[in-house]
Amino acid sequence: MTETVLRSSPEKRRFNIDMRALSPFIALIVLMIAGALINPDFLTASNLLNVVTRSAFIAIIAVGATFVISSGGLDLSVGSMAALTAGLMILTLNSLGNADMSTLALGMLAAIAVSAACGLANGLIITFGRIEPFIVTLGTMGIYRSLVIWLAAGGTITMRNSDLRELYRPVYFGDIYGVPVPIIAFLVVAAIGALILYRTSFGRHVIALGSNEDVARYSGVPIWRVRTLTYIIQGICVGIAVLVYVPRLGSATPTTGLLWELQAITAVVIGGTALKGGVGRIWGTVVGAVILEVVANIMVLSNFVSEFLVGAVQGAIIIIAMLVQRSVHRGR
């Protein structure tokens, strides 16, 4: 009996760890089985591709949120930031006016610049003002949202040049070897995010900061820089999400991105990242975003829930999905 003591130990623990990381996937699978039972159309390739494609915006934003949250922060402004970025991007495209690649590239650049700047603003106020991120980003959420309303004068900001729209369309609707572009975008963002979080000193510093700020400080981690950078990364992710979003609906409105912050945070938490910081699971986050979209999809595909009660069923499913996850790694 004793000989097993040391030898089996690493495997066993690995296994445990893996269960935690795996549990969002298991919840997703359970959900998919439920979906298939409710409506056979659920499992068609086209439906599944649709669902995953749609989850791209939130998934990309949530990758950024994983950085912020695992460093112990929070960003409530992402939805408004997305609206503002989309608005300014469209205005840039409209003012440039041409329907060519370079116009598009400039517009995209502008989008990323705007969202990165918004992230920077969040980061600086939080680090230098030393105010709870909750309050700061609640404040900037109002600010960014209002700016869109103001830019749109209460109405809509729409891409005017329809040729440009056609040129831009494939970024949402196109595919590469059958894989829709948004899916590729979000896989790439997640892969880069994972690389940064798990393989660079910066990523290590993010986790250290979220685990224990004092220890990080005493270890020479440049706290302020790291914290500000997490918000900039969040901003850039919002920018990328907008790049994929704009070709889909072609306009920005005062209600664009409403409640995306809640969805992004939910995706992160479902994915296994703790709100208190110190843990970050990029792939879990991505699965979390897909879960949210699958739940919404099942709601549309199912036909026995009164429309008034959809929200209730959706809420219940999310709680149940978390219970499934819990029971998967109960052992720990």
């Binding site: 409506n39 159309d41 068609t44 086209s46 439906n47 649709n50 749609r54 915006f57 309303i149 749109a152 004068a153 209460g154 109405g155 809509t156 729409t158 979003y245 889909r248 609906l249 072609g250 306009s251 409105t253 005062p254 209600t255 664009t256 409403l258 409640l259 979209e293 919404a296 999809n297 549309v300 595909l301 036909n303 009164s306 429309e307 008034f308 959809v310 929200g311």
Partner: protein, 292 residues
Amino acid sequence: QQKNVTIGVSIPAATHGWTGGAVYHAQETAKELEKMYPGLKVIVKTSPDGASQANALDDLTAQKIDALVVLPFNSDELTNPVREVKKKGTLITVIDRGLKDPTIQDIYVAGDNPGFGRIAGKYFADTLKQGNIVVLRGIPTVLDEERVSNFEKAIEGSGVKVIDKQYANWNRDDAFKVMQDFLSKHQKIDAVWAADDDMALGVLEAIRQAKREDIKFVVGGAGMKEMVKRVMDGDKMIPVNVTYPPALVATAMHVTAANFYTKAPMRGTFVLNAQLITKDNAKDHYFPNSPF
């Protein structure tokens, strides 16, 4: 022999009074139509924002629908997603907030947002002639903007002046607060345009509390049954209302179903003009059993 038809209905979620009414009518009408036309299946889906509505359209098409009845969250955003559905050969019925590209729709059941603002504005110009009014607008959206700008156009040149306006989000509580503050801020207000009956109710409560006598009347809109009743009863404070019935969803669904089950193909535009409800015609607009 029975004909199998599936109609998908996509409307905004029941987030406040009017949309709640719309969902109610959609669900009721669905049941009614399915009973009326054996073989017909109606799937009603609601969405809380433009992007989700685009998703819902995808998902409805996945269920192979023959016709789509859609009340777009927002004209600009939903134009392309509806176009995608159209490409699959689906019959398209658009309600209320039109699409940017009218060629997409086969049937259009129009609500009249510009008219909604214009008629109210005209009433103020005609009745009040002279005076200071405050405006409570809805949620920042295109249709809100259409209503308010047309209202302002309609009072242009008259002696009626908008001295203040704020968003109150089609919400009673917000309207109550904004109105309280308007009353603190302005010593004399001659009348109030609340652009929606939910908001008008909050406004009335605030006025009652402040015991202010200067305000001659409040005009809401959309024909909530309580308000229509007050018009009918000759309430001085609520002299008129402007229609904007959530039941236009029902109309659109009926027309769409008829397209499949009656001989005459239904195409074209059905305008439900915004109408001024006055004491005289109020009983035609009073439906005590509707939830709205």
